[in-house]
């Protein structure tokens, strides 16, 4: 149990960083996903094309590439920076950006399939009482669509939480230079090569602690908020 006493706090810190990555990316990807879905069902052709282009490009690009692009392309080449002084902060937000835009395309497509489950009559009735397109989407269609895709959305968020490990590729760390979980795991294994299995188990369990509740909450919520027809 030397491992725990020596490295316990570093492991917790690394999961704290993973959790922060997942939290912000989760929020931004949900918001951006709703915007993209709105684009994709918009009556304006240009918006539909933009939505489709974004989804097809990002959904079919490996996350590692997107992640590298934010650091080398956006930050180094184009000079986009979230924090000029503190490199670790800049990298953190670049990783959140990469995860958010990447995951938002999956959120968008899940939402779009949810929109297809809402009977056409709902949108027609909303139009018939004089709601505009955006009101219709915001008040009638999206609330019903969201409720029907809570479980698939949870799968997207679980995948996103695990995808935070890709942030290791651009060296996301805390202020005290602790890596996010996968980077920390690798560092620990290099130092404790006799306990590799144990380290695996600790980190696998750590991720399950983060992701299992997402599934449980989604299961409960999809029942609680189900739209009865």
């Amino acid at each position: 149990m030397d491992l725990i006493s020596e490295s316990g706090s570093a492991i917790l810190t690394s999961f704290g960083l993973t959790l922060r990555l997942a939290f912000f990316s989760g929020i931004f990807s949900l918001l951006l996903g709703v915007v993209l879905a709105t684009f994709r069902v918009s009556p304006v052709p240009v918006l539909r094309w933009v939505g489709a282009a974004v989804v097809y490009t990002l959904r079919n690009t490996p996350l590692t590439l997107v992640m590298f692009f934010t650091l080398f392309g956006l930050s180094y080449q184009l000079g986009v920076s979230f924090d000029k002084e503190l490199l670790y902060r800049n990298n953190f937000w670049l990783a959140v950006l990469a995860l958010s835009v990447y995951t938002s395309t999956f959120v968008c497509e899940v939402l779009r399939s949810g929109i297809n489950t809402v009977p056409l009559g709902q949108a027609e009735a909303a139009r018939a009482i004089g709601l505009t397109f955006t009101q219709n989407l915001r008040l009638i269609v999206l609330p019903q669509a969201l409720r029907s895709v809570i479980n698939p959305l949870a799968s997207v968020l679980i995948a996103m939480t695990k995808n935070t490990t890709v942030a290791v590729t651009i060296g996301v760390t805390t202020a005290t230079f602790v890596n996010e979980a996968s980077g920390q795991m690798k560092a620990l294994m290099e130092r404790n090569s006799d306990q590799i299995l144990l380290i695996f188990i600790i980190f696998a369990a750590g991720f399950m602690i983060l992701t299992l509740p997402i599934g449980f909450i989604a299961g409960w919520a999809s029942k609680r908020f189900a739209v009865i027809r």
Binding site: Q122, A125, A126, A128, I129, L131, L139
Partner: protein, 241 residues
């Protein structure tokens, strides 16, 4: 409400052929005809749930806007009741009725709710206000749908086969509400197969077949003395049992 030379195609199918129809304020027009005659489509073009290929539709002398905010505004003036009710499934009965007045007419919540409760009482479902649509019977849902449309204080009410999806015993409760509306002077366009309602409440019966208006007459004249072969044939099939 004036429809002037309205045409519409679905691919090769000419669903509305040169439709000319004028509806005066307070008039109740019942549209009948065989399935596929275009009567539902006609009803839906009036608040532009269906587009038209040519011709004009005017409300109060103003042509229907093609899209955007103007169209939304027009739709608020035209109440619509659907065959399949289409109550908002995720909202309570009360919220179904207050949504339009609050979001489109910008009424305060308390005001909208007071108005909605009055309307729900009037159509006889006041006690169900806190329930969700799926908890109500079809007849109750359709009466809520009428209340929802009335809450917008529309100039015209469109009914697209409002009783066709109902169990027979629930048809009357919906028709009763419609008859009382007609008596109060609401302008109504009703697509229906309820001949009893047409006889009792209509000022005029419009008979459609194959996308055309074949006859337009008072109910008494139309039912007792149809002019066209098509109407005679139709009435012969539905009335002689």
């Amino acid at each position: 409400m004036v429809l002037d030379h309205v045409d519409k195609h679905y691919g090769d199918l000419h669903v509305l052929q040169d439709i000319n129809l004028e509806i005066k304020r307070g008039e109740v027009v019942v549209v009948i005809g065989p399935s596929g005659s275009g009567k539902s489509t006609l009803c839906r073009t009036i608040n532009r749930l269906e587009t038209i290929d040519s011709g004009t539709i005017k409300l109060d002398g103003k042509e229907l806007p093609a899209e955007g905010k103007g169209l939304a505004k027009l739709r608020a003036e035209v109440g619509m009741v659907f065959q399949s009710f289409n109550l908002f499934a995720h909202k309570t009965i009360l919220q179904n009725v207050t949504l339009g007045p609050m979001k489109v007419r910008k009424l305060k919540k308390a005001e909208a709710e007071a108005e909605a409760k009055k309307l729900l009482d009037r159509v006889g479902v006041g006690a169900q206000a806190a329930k969700y649509p799926a908890q109500l019977s079809g007849g109750q849902q359709q009466r809520v749908a009428i209340a929802r449309a009335l809450a917008m204080k529309p100039q015209v009410m469109l009914f697209d086969e409002p009783t066709s999806a109902l169990d027979p015993e629930m048809v009357k409760e919906v028709l009763d509400v419609m008859v009382s509306l007609a008596k109060e002077g609401m302008t109504m366009i009703v697509v229906t197969h309820e001949m009893g309602f047409a006889r009792m409440a209509a000022d005029r019966v419009v008979f459609m077949a194959d996308g055309q208006i074949v006859e337009s007459n008072t109910p008494a004249e139309f039912f007792d003395n149809p002019q066209s072969e098509r109407a005679k044939d139709f009435l012969g099939k539905i009335l002689k049992h």
